[in-house]
Protein backbone atom coordinates (compact mmCIF):
# COMPACT_ATOMS: atom_id res chain seq x y z
CA UNK A 1 0.00 0.00 0.00
CA UNK A 2 2.71 2.41 1.00
CA UNK A 3 4.69 1.95 -2.18
CA UNK A 4 1.54 2.54 -4.18
CA UNK A 5 0.84 5.77 -2.35
CA UNK A 6 4.24 7.13 -3.25
CA UNK A 7 3.31 7.66 -6.86
CA UNK A 8 0.89 10.00 -8.54
CA UNK A 9 -1.18 8.15 -11.05
CA UNK A 10 -0.34 9.44 -14.51
CA UNK A 11 -3.85 9.47 -15.73
CA UNK A 12 -3.95 13.01 -17.06
CA UNK A 13 -3.19 14.12 -20.57
CA UNK A 14 0.20 15.39 -21.60
CA UNK A 15 -0.04 19.14 -20.79
CA UNK A 16 1.18 20.18 -24.24
CA UNK A 17 -1.49 18.02 -25.86
CA UNK A 18 -4.16 19.56 -23.61
CA UNK A 19 -2.83 23.04 -24.29
CA UNK A 20 -2.77 22.41 -28.04
CA UNK A 21 -6.40 21.27 -28.06
CA UNK A 22 -7.41 24.20 -25.85
CA UNK A 23 -5.70 26.56 -28.29
CA UNK A 24 -7.59 24.99 -31.23
CA UNK A 25 -10.82 25.37 -29.26
CA UNK A 26 -10.13 29.08 -28.66
CA UNK A 27 -9.48 29.60 -32.39
CA UNK A 28 -12.74 27.80 -33.15
CA UNK A 29 -14.62 29.93 -30.58
CA UNK A 30 -13.31 33.18 -32.06
CA UNK A 31 -14.02 31.91 -35.58
CA UNK A 32 -17.62 31.11 -34.65
CA UNK A 33 -18.58 33.87 -32.25
CA UNK A 34 -15.93 36.58 -32.59
CA UNK A 35 -15.33 36.34 -28.83
CA UNK A 36 -13.42 34.09 -26.46
CA UNK A 37 -14.25 31.69 -23.66
CA UNK A 38 -15.40 32.63 -20.17
CA UNK A 39 -16.15 31.15 -16.79
CA UNK A 40 -17.18 33.92 -14.39
CA UNK A 41 -19.77 35.44 -16.72
CA UNK A 42 -22.36 32.80 -15.94
CA UNK A 43 -21.75 33.17 -12.18
CA UNK A 44 -22.31 36.91 -12.50
CA UNK A 45 -25.56 36.25 -14.37
CA UNK A 46 -26.63 33.91 -11.55
CA UNK A 47 -25.97 36.57 -8.92
CA UNK A 48 -27.81 39.24 -10.92
CA UNK A 49 -30.75 36.88 -11.52
CA UNK A 50 -30.95 35.95 -7.83
CA UNK A 51 -30.85 39.55 -6.61
CA UNK A 52 -33.36 40.56 -9.29
CA UNK A 53 -35.74 37.81 -8.18
CA UNK A 54 -35.50 38.70 -4.48
CA UNK A 55 -35.79 42.44 -4.96
CA UNK A 56 -36.35 43.82 -8.43
CA UNK A 57 -36.32 47.44 -7.22
CA UNK A 58 -32.97 46.95 -5.50
CA UNK A 59 -31.44 45.45 -8.65
CA UNK A 60 -32.85 48.24 -10.82
CA UNK A 61 -31.48 50.87 -8.46
CA UNK A 62 -27.95 49.45 -8.47
CA UNK A 63 -25.81 50.74 -11.32
CA UNK A 64 -24.03 47.38 -11.72
CA UNK A 65 -26.94 44.90 -11.69
CA UNK A 66 -29.06 47.18 -13.87
CA UNK A 67 -26.47 46.98 -16.66
CA UNK A 68 -27.30 43.30 -17.17
CA UNK A 69 -31.06 43.37 -16.65
CA UNK A 70 -33.14 43.33 -19.79
CA UNK A 71 -36.92 43.69 -19.62
CA UNK A 72 -37.58 41.31 -22.49
CA UNK A 73 -35.50 38.33 -21.53
CA UNK A 74 -33.95 36.61 -18.55
CA UNK A 75 -30.43 37.47 -17.43
CA UNK A 76 -29.72 33.77 -17.67
CA UNK A 77 -30.54 33.75 -21.38
CA UNK A 78 -26.90 34.35 -22.12
CA UNK A 79 -24.22 32.71 -24.25
CA UNK A 80 -21.87 32.21 -21.28
CA UNK A 81 -24.57 30.48 -19.21
CA UNK A 82 -24.99 27.87 -21.93
CA UNK A 83 -21.24 27.55 -22.32
CA UNK A 84 -20.92 26.97 -18.57
CA UNK A 85 -23.53 24.20 -18.67
CA UNK A 86 -21.31 22.66 -21.33
CA UNK A 87 -18.21 22.99 -19.10
CA UNK A 88 -19.94 21.08 -16.30
CA UNK A 89 -21.09 18.36 -18.71
CA UNK A 90 -17.70 18.06 -20.41
CA UNK A 91 -15.80 17.83 -17.15
CA UNK A 92 -18.30 15.27 -15.86
CA UNK A 93 -17.85 13.10 -18.96
CA UNK A 94 -14.05 13.29 -18.74
CA UNK A 95 -14.11 12.55 -15.01
CA UNK A 96 -16.50 9.62 -15.52
CA UNK A 97 -14.38 8.04 -18.22
CA UNK A 98 -11.30 8.31 -16.02
CA UNK A 99 -13.08 7.17 -12.84
CA UNK A 100 -12.53 10.40 -10.92
CA UNK A 101 -16.11 11.06 -9.80
CA UNK A 102 -16.78 11.13 -6.06
CA UNK A 103 -17.79 13.50 -3.29
CA UNK A 104 -14.67 14.48 -1.42
CA UNK A 105 -12.56 17.33 -0.15
CA UNK A 106 -9.06 17.26 -1.55
CA UNK A 107 -6.42 18.65 0.78
CA UNK A 108 -2.86 18.18 1.93
CA UNK A 109 -2.50 15.57 4.71
CA UNK A 110 -0.90 18.31 6.82
CA UNK A 111 -4.12 20.30 7.11
CA UNK A 112 -7.68 19.44 8.08
CA UNK A 113 -10.48 19.45 5.55
CA UNK A 114 -12.12 22.20 7.57
CA UNK A 115 -9.08 24.43 7.05
CA UNK A 116 -9.08 23.56 3.35
CA UNK A 117 -12.72 24.61 3.03
CA UNK A 118 -12.16 27.91 4.88
CA UNK A 119 -9.30 28.82 2.55
CA UNK A 120 -11.31 27.68 -0.48
CA UNK A 121 -14.10 30.04 0.58
CA UNK A 122 -11.69 32.96 1.08
CA UNK A 123 -10.09 32.20 -2.29
CA UNK A 124 -13.48 32.11 -3.98
CA UNK A 125 -14.58 35.44 -2.51
CA UNK A 126 -11.31 37.07 -3.62
CA UNK A 127 -11.59 35.57 -7.09
CA UNK A 128 -15.19 36.74 -7.42
CA UNK A 129 -14.27 40.26 -6.37
CA UNK A 130 -11.10 40.45 -8.48
CA UNK A 131 -12.78 39.07 -11.59
CA UNK A 132 -15.35 41.86 -11.52
CA UNK A 133 -12.74 44.58 -10.99
CA UNK A 134 -10.65 43.22 -13.88
CA UNK A 135 -13.78 42.50 -16.00
CA UNK A 136 -12.86 38.87 -16.46
CA UNK A 137 -11.08 35.93 -14.88
CA UNK A 138 -8.27 33.63 -16.01
CA UNK A 139 -10.41 32.39 -18.92
CA UNK A 140 -12.23 35.51 -20.07
CA UNK A 141 -9.59 38.16 -19.48
CA UNK A 142 -6.23 36.39 -19.44
CA UNK A 143 -6.57 33.42 -21.82
CA UNK A 144 -9.07 34.85 -24.31
CA UNK A 145 -7.41 38.26 -24.06
CA UNK A 146 -3.98 36.83 -24.86
CA UNK A 147 -5.38 35.03 -27.92
CA UNK A 148 -6.09 38.40 -29.57
CA UNK A 149 -3.04 40.13 -28.02
CA UNK A 150 -5.21 42.31 -25.73
CA UNK A 151 -3.01 44.54 -23.59
CA UNK A 152 -5.44 44.27 -20.69
CA UNK A 153 -5.44 40.48 -21.02
CA UNK A 154 -1.65 40.31 -20.74
CA UNK A 155 -1.60 42.70 -17.77
CA UNK A 156 -4.29 40.67 -15.98
CA UNK A 157 -2.37 37.43 -16.64
CA UNK A 158 0.91 38.88 -15.34
CA UNK A 159 -0.86 40.33 -12.31
CA UNK A 160 -2.63 37.06 -11.39
CA UNK A 161 0.46 34.88 -11.64
CA UNK A 162 2.88 37.52 -10.32
CA UNK A 163 0.81 38.07 -7.19
CA UNK A 164 0.28 34.34 -6.89
CA UNK A 165 4.02 33.77 -6.68
CA UNK A 166 4.47 36.64 -4.20
CA UNK A 167 1.66 35.39 -1.97
CA UNK A 168 2.60 31.70 -2.26
CA UNK A 169 4.96 31.85 0.71
CA UNK A 170 2.16 32.80 3.11
CA UNK A 171 -0.07 29.93 2.02
CA UNK A 172 2.64 27.24 1.76
CA UNK A 173 1.38 25.19 4.70
CA UNK A 174 -1.83 24.45 2.81
CA UNK A 175 -0.06 22.94 -0.16
CA UNK A 176 3.44 21.63 0.61
Amino acid sequence: MKAEKKQNKHIYWNPYFGGFLLGILIIFTFYMTGRGLGATGAMKSSVVATVDTISHTHAEGNSYYSKFINKDESVLNNWLVFETIGILLGAFISGSLAGRIGLRTQHSPKITSRRRLVFALIGGVLFGLGSQIARGCTSGAALSGMAVLSTGGFITMLSIFGTGFLAAYFFRKNWI
Partner: protein, 197 residues
Protein backbone atom coordinates in the same frame (compact mmCIF):
# COMPACT_ATOMS: atom_id res chain seq x y z
CA UNK B 1 -15.25 35.26 -43.75
CA UNK B 2 -15.25 34.72 -40.01
CA UNK B 3 -16.41 35.28 -37.34
CA UNK B 4 -19.34 33.22 -38.62
CA UNK B 5 -22.20 34.02 -36.25
CA UNK B 6 -21.76 37.84 -36.10
CA UNK B 7 -21.43 37.86 -39.90
CA UNK B 8 -24.67 35.85 -40.24
CA UNK B 9 -22.99 33.00 -42.10
CA UNK B 10 -24.36 30.73 -39.36
CA UNK B 11 -27.72 31.90 -38.02
CA UNK B 12 -28.07 33.18 -34.46
CA UNK B 13 -30.39 30.33 -33.52
CA UNK B 14 -27.37 28.04 -33.49
CA UNK B 15 -25.57 30.25 -31.03
CA UNK B 16 -26.64 28.46 -27.82
CA UNK B 17 -26.13 24.99 -29.23
CA UNK B 18 -22.62 25.97 -30.26
CA UNK B 19 -22.15 27.49 -26.79
CA UNK B 20 -22.95 24.17 -25.12
CA UNK B 21 -20.67 22.26 -27.51
CA UNK B 22 -17.78 24.69 -26.99
CA UNK B 23 -18.29 24.51 -23.21
CA UNK B 24 -18.37 20.72 -23.40
CA UNK B 25 -15.00 20.64 -25.15
CA UNK B 26 -13.59 23.28 -22.78
CA UNK B 27 -14.67 21.33 -19.69
CA UNK B 28 -13.44 18.03 -21.12
CA UNK B 29 -10.00 19.39 -22.03
CA UNK B 30 -9.54 21.08 -18.64
CA UNK B 31 -10.61 18.03 -16.65
CA UNK B 32 -8.54 15.62 -18.74
CA UNK B 33 -5.49 17.87 -18.31
CA UNK B 34 -5.81 17.65 -14.53
CA UNK B 35 -7.42 21.04 -13.86
CA UNK B 36 -9.97 19.54 -11.50
CA UNK B 37 -7.27 18.96 -8.87
CA UNK B 38 -6.40 21.97 -6.72
CA UNK B 39 -3.21 20.32 -5.53
CA UNK B 40 -2.05 19.89 -9.10
CA UNK B 41 -2.95 23.49 -9.99
CA UNK B 42 -1.26 24.99 -6.93
CA UNK B 43 1.95 23.16 -7.90
CA UNK B 44 2.82 26.00 -10.26
CA UNK B 45 3.31 28.34 -7.30
CA UNK B 46 5.52 25.92 -5.37
CA UNK B 47 7.47 24.34 -8.21
CA UNK B 48 6.25 20.77 -7.97
CA UNK B 49 3.81 20.69 -10.91
CA UNK B 50 3.76 23.10 -13.84
CA UNK B 51 0.71 21.82 -15.67
CA UNK B 52 -1.01 25.23 -15.40
CA UNK B 53 1.87 27.06 -17.01
CA UNK B 54 2.34 24.45 -19.74
CA UNK B 55 -1.33 24.17 -20.72
CA UNK B 56 -1.95 27.90 -20.39
CA UNK B 57 0.98 29.08 -22.48
CA UNK B 58 0.63 26.34 -25.09
CA UNK B 59 -3.03 27.29 -25.52
CA UNK B 60 -2.24 31.01 -25.69
CA UNK B 61 0.45 30.45 -28.33
CA UNK B 62 -1.55 28.02 -30.45
CA UNK B 63 -4.58 30.32 -30.39
CA UNK B 64 -2.74 33.54 -31.20
CA UNK B 65 -0.70 31.92 -34.00
CA UNK B 66 -3.82 30.24 -35.40
CA UNK B 67 -5.90 33.41 -35.30
CA UNK B 68 -3.15 35.45 -36.99
CA UNK B 69 -2.77 32.74 -39.64
CA UNK B 70 -6.50 32.65 -40.34
CA UNK B 71 -6.50 36.43 -40.60
CA UNK B 72 -3.54 36.26 -42.99
CA UNK B 73 -5.27 33.64 -45.16
CA UNK B 74 -8.47 35.67 -45.17
CA UNK B 75 -10.71 33.24 -43.23
CA UNK B 76 -11.11 35.46 -40.20
CA UNK B 77 -11.05 39.22 -39.77
CA UNK B 78 -8.79 39.97 -36.81
CA UNK B 79 -10.17 43.50 -36.51
CA UNK B 80 -13.73 42.32 -35.98
CA UNK B 81 -12.82 40.09 -33.01
CA UNK B 82 -13.68 41.23 -29.51
CA UNK B 83 -10.57 42.51 -27.77
CA UNK B 84 -10.77 42.49 -23.98
CA UNK B 85 -10.65 46.21 -23.01
CA UNK B 86 -7.78 47.68 -21.06
CA UNK B 87 -8.60 49.41 -17.78
CA UNK B 88 -5.04 49.65 -16.49
CA UNK B 89 -5.55 49.68 -12.71
CA UNK B 90 -8.61 47.47 -12.88
CA UNK B 91 -6.48 44.81 -14.58
CA UNK B 92 -3.61 45.19 -12.09
CA UNK B 93 -5.63 45.37 -8.86
CA UNK B 94 -8.25 42.87 -10.01
CA UNK B 95 -5.48 40.51 -11.15
CA UNK B 96 -3.64 40.87 -7.84
CA UNK B 97 -6.79 40.02 -5.86
CA UNK B 98 -7.36 37.02 -8.12
CA UNK B 99 -3.73 35.93 -7.63
CA UNK B 100 -4.17 35.78 -3.86
CA UNK B 101 -7.49 34.02 -4.39
CA UNK B 102 -5.74 31.45 -6.59
CA UNK B 103 -3.11 30.51 -3.99
CA UNK B 104 -5.66 30.52 -1.20
CA UNK B 105 -8.36 28.54 -2.97
CA UNK B 106 -6.28 26.49 -5.38
CA UNK B 107 -8.68 27.06 -8.25
CA UNK B 108 -9.67 29.68 -10.74
CA UNK B 109 -13.35 29.91 -11.78
CA UNK B 110 -13.12 27.66 -14.86
CA UNK B 111 -11.14 24.95 -13.11
CA UNK B 112 -13.41 25.08 -10.05
CA UNK B 113 -16.40 24.34 -12.30
CA UNK B 114 -14.59 21.22 -13.57
CA UNK B 115 -13.90 20.13 -10.01
CA UNK B 116 -17.53 20.74 -9.02
CA UNK B 117 -18.59 18.49 -11.90
CA UNK B 118 -16.57 15.57 -10.50
CA UNK B 119 -17.78 16.10 -6.93
CA UNK B 120 -15.04 18.08 -5.15
CA UNK B 121 -16.58 19.69 -2.07
CA UNK B 122 -13.78 22.27 -1.77
CA UNK B 123 -14.59 23.43 -5.31
CA UNK B 124 -18.27 23.81 -4.45
CA UNK B 125 -17.30 26.03 -1.52
CA UNK B 126 -14.95 27.97 -3.83
CA UNK B 127 -17.78 28.60 -6.34
CA UNK B 128 -20.00 29.72 -3.45
CA UNK B 129 -17.23 32.14 -2.53
CA UNK B 130 -17.10 33.50 -6.08
CA UNK B 131 -20.83 34.22 -5.95
CA UNK B 132 -20.37 36.04 -2.62
CA UNK B 133 -17.43 37.98 -4.08
CA UNK B 134 -19.47 39.10 -7.09
CA UNK B 135 -22.32 40.09 -4.76
CA UNK B 136 -19.96 42.17 -2.57
CA UNK B 137 -18.55 43.91 -5.65
CA UNK B 138 -22.01 44.70 -7.00
CA UNK B 139 -23.29 46.06 -3.71
CA UNK B 140 -20.18 48.23 -3.29
CA UNK B 141 -20.08 49.32 -6.93
CA UNK B 142 -19.87 53.02 -6.06
CA UNK B 143 -16.71 52.31 -4.05
CA UNK B 144 -15.10 50.28 -6.85
CA UNK B 145 -16.35 52.49 -9.68
CA UNK B 146 -13.15 54.61 -10.00
CA UNK B 147 -10.89 51.60 -10.68
CA UNK B 148 -13.63 49.67 -12.47
CA UNK B 149 -14.18 52.28 -15.16
CA UNK B 150 -11.16 54.54 -14.78
CA UNK B 151 -7.77 54.47 -16.52
CA UNK B 152 -9.45 53.36 -19.72
CA UNK B 153 -7.28 52.82 -22.79
CA UNK B 154 -9.88 51.27 -25.07
CA UNK B 155 -9.90 47.82 -26.68
CA UNK B 156 -6.20 48.04 -27.39
CA UNK B 157 -3.82 45.25 -28.35
CA UNK B 158 -0.10 44.99 -27.70
CA UNK B 159 0.39 46.04 -31.31
CA UNK B 160 -1.10 49.45 -30.39
CA UNK B 161 0.45 49.68 -26.92
CA UNK B 162 4.01 48.61 -27.75
CA UNK B 163 4.07 49.58 -31.42
CA UNK B 164 5.43 46.13 -32.23
CA UNK B 165 4.52 43.95 -35.22
CA UNK B 166 2.22 41.10 -34.10
CA UNK B 167 4.41 38.58 -35.93
CA UNK B 168 7.55 39.69 -34.13
CA UNK B 169 5.73 39.69 -30.81
CA UNK B 170 4.46 36.13 -31.33
CA UNK B 171 7.94 35.02 -32.36
CA UNK B 172 9.51 36.47 -29.20
CA UNK B 173 6.64 35.17 -27.04
CA UNK B 174 7.18 31.66 -28.49
CA UNK B 175 10.91 31.74 -27.68
CA UNK B 176 10.14 32.91 -24.12
CA UNK B 177 7.56 30.13 -23.70
CA UNK B 178 9.94 27.41 -24.95
CA UNK B 179 12.67 28.62 -22.57
CA UNK B 180 10.11 28.69 -19.75
CA UNK B 181 9.03 25.11 -20.53
CA UNK B 182 12.63 23.91 -20.30
CA UNK B 183 13.42 25.90 -17.15
CA UNK B 184 10.33 24.71 -15.24
CA UNK B 185 11.21 21.09 -15.95
CA UNK B 186 14.65 21.68 -14.43
CA UNK B 187 13.06 23.39 -11.40
CA UNK B 188 10.57 20.56 -10.95
CA UNK B 189 13.31 17.94 -10.96
CA UNK B 190 15.25 19.85 -8.31
CA UNK B 191 12.25 20.20 -5.99
CA UNK B 192 11.00 17.60 -3.59
CA UNK B 193 8.19 15.60 -5.12
CA UNK B 194 4.75 16.18 -3.66
CA UNK B 195 2.38 13.24 -3.62
CA UNK B 196 -1.35 13.59 -3.67
CA UNK B 197 -4.37 11.80 -5.01
Amino acid sequence: MGPLIPNDIISHEWSYIIAILIGLAFGYIMEASGFSSSRKLAGVFYGYDFVVLKVFFTAALVSVIGILYMDYLGYLDFNSLYVHPTFLWGAIIGGAIMGIGFVSGGFCPGTSLCAVAIGKIDAMVFVGGILIGIFIFSELISFFEPIYSGYYFGNVTLVDSLGISPYWFVFIFTIIAIIAFIVVDIIRKKNKKIFYN
